[in-house]
Amino acid sequence: MPMNANEVAQIAHLARLAVSAEDSETHARNLSEILDFVEQLGTVDTGDVEPLAHPLEMTQRLRTDEPSEPDERERFQAIAPATEAGHYLVPRVIE
């Protein structure tokens, strides 16, 4: 499935990745080759086959709704780049 630079730009936007114009051509070629390669899955008859998402087909284990971890705020705040009044300070994001 051939992919062009515009389609790469669209996918990169969805993935929130900056991709330079010069890298777009390389990505277009590589992604096209990879998608061509996986196209062979279309030759397999999977009409009534249930998808397999987990190799052991386990169901999500549930636990009782009780705290299981100790409060380690002081330890984690000690290694944070910046804190104030018990809160973590993060760099300003410009909007």
Binding site: N30, I34, F37, V38, G42, P51, L56
Partner: protein
């Protein structure tokens, strides 16, 4: 001491031939001598010597186990409290976790001495260890060749005798393929056998931690230290851990039913020297009394395309947390929030990681989900059903670990599909969640060849017993490269 196994080093420590502190000092010196291999990202000499001193004290108190005082290394994908955990990426170049991964904590509790963190393909994405932000690892058998990936640093460290054992992770063959290419033994346990807590996630339904060492016996000792239930990993299986070392003696090669998949034997692009070594290995097992028979895994050829839909899809989700706000590298002077996300991820991730994120994003996007992701999950079930049928008539499946010996550095760097085919014999095992290992089985052109053995779910004991039986018949696992190069 560098050519001894864990079992032999344990005996030496027990007899007082050396202390763990002496052993650890010698290990650190040898690592320094082999710095050109680029096998390590971070060394921890001070904490290693402190752990060694504690191990000596524990031994003096009569509290030593098989791993007490043994130097080991951890793949840099495992979180280590107070020690940088980069996952081979610029994105996590400065990440110092405040906690240990389950595997790290378990091995520490067993008395193992952690000397450092090994180099790896970025976020475990690669089959050659060339995608690391910290540069490629070199194969100790040929410094112009790759060690395999993504656990290539751990493989090179064990192969060159820098440490007797190391941890690795295997998402599509990342323990077994580098083990094969560097001539060591490596085990991917059953999915869920070892907790993934504290292991930086790549593809969560495939990732599995496991040991890399120089013999099946050492793999058994390491797995004993790593395996066990952990409530913090909801995919970890609550099931008793058997005595793997005892299983070595209990499994007899005589009468062991070994299946040879027709599709592995007839696969295109397999080096003649690899086929020859694997045939010689199965002949040796047959002569020792094993029942070797041909079987079929009709959907095995679809494993790689299935993997390259599922793994990137899961990776695109797992790696979304690295956005410059919550985790990881942050770009300078972002213009707005979208610019912050895009440039942080664009500058923090390497090309292979970006490629896989984009493939995964595409496969999961509206209009393509059914054609790619759902279809791949359906074929995944067919692959697993092939194995289930095979294990109705055999105990173990044998074949090559990799289609070739170690290839030259840079030779596949511009051809991702060719690189992906390096894992053609290992990926199906991850899709099905089975245990499998690779052991050395000969050489081609002076480079090691690996024999892969695959077992049924939770049959690690039988698998290790079969590998141990093979290593009683051969001495390939005793061969060592020169550290001097």
């Amino acid at each position: 001491m560098h050519d001894r196994t864990i079992a032999e080093l344990g005996t030496a420590l027990e007899r007082g031939e050396c202390s763990s502190v002496e052993l650890t000092r010698a290990t650190l010196e040898r690592i320094d001598q082999a710095a050109d291999l680029n096998a390590f990202i971070t060394l921890t000499p001070e904490s290693a010597l402190a752990e060694a001193a504690e191990a000596d004290a524990a031994r003096a108190r009569g509290e030593a186990g098989p791993l007490t005082g043994i130097p080991i290394a951890h793949k840099d994908i495992f979180c280590t409290e107070g020690v940088r955990t980069s996952c081979g990426s610029r994105m996590l170049e400065r990440f110092v976790p405040p906690y240990d991964a389950f595997v790290v904590a378990r091995l520490r509790a067993a008395g193992a001495v952690a000397v450092g963190k090994t180099n790896m393909d970025e976020f475990a994405m690669g089959s050659s260890n060339e995608t690391s932000f910290f540069g490629p690892v070199k194969n100790p058998w040929d410094r112009n060749a790759v060690p395999g990936g993504s656990s290539g640093g751990s493989a090179a460290a064990v192969a060159s005798g820098l440490v007797p054992a190391a941890t690795g992770t295997d998402t599509g063959g990342s323990i077994r393929q580098p083990a094969a290419l560097t001539g060591i033994s490596g085990l991917k346990p059953t999915y869920g056998r070892v907790s993934r807590y504290g292991m930086i996630a790549f593809a969560s339904s495939l990732d599995q931690a496991g040991p890399m060492a120089s013999s099946a016996e050492d793999l058994a000792i390491m797995l004993q230290g790593m395996a066990g239930f952990d409530r913090r990993d909801s995919t970890c299986v609550d099931r008793p851990v058997p005595d793997y070392r005892a299983a070595l003696a209990e499994t007899d090669v005589r009468g062991l039913r070994i299946g040879l998949p027709r599709e592995f034997i007839e696969a295109d692009g397999v080096d003649a020297e690899v086929s020859g070594a694997v045939t010689a290995a199965t002949d040796a097992l047959r002569e020792a009394g094993a029942d070797v028979r041909e079987i079929s895994l009709p959907n095995a050829g679809m494993a790689v395309p299935v993997y390259y839909v599922i793994a990137p899809a899961e990776a695109s989700s797992n790696l979304s947390r690295f956005d410059g706000v919550r985790y990881g590298y942050r770009c300078d002077s972002p213009a707005d929030l979208e610019d912050l996300y895009k440039r942080s991820r664009g500058e923090g991730f390497g090309e292979e990681v970006k490629r896989r994120i984009m493939v995964g994003t595409y496969a999961l996007s509206a209009g393509y989900y059914d054609a790619y992701y759902r279809k791949a999950q359906q074929v995944r079930r067919l692959v697993q059903e092939d194995f289930a049928r095979a294990f109705e008539s055999v105990d173990v499946i044998a074949g090559p670990t990799a289609p070739s010996t170690a290839f030259p550095l840079g030779s596949k760097a511009d051809d991702p599909v060719q690189m992906y085919l390096s894992d053609i014999f290992t990926i199906a095992v991850n899709l099905a969640g089975l245990p499998a290992l690779s052991v050395p089985a000969g050489f081609g052109g002076g480079r090691p060849v690996g024999l892969q053995l695959i077992g049924n779910h939770f049959q690690e004991g039988r698998l290790l017993g079969a590998a141990h039986g093979y290593q009683q018949l051969t001495d390939w696992h005793r061969q060592r490269p020169s550290v001097e190069g």
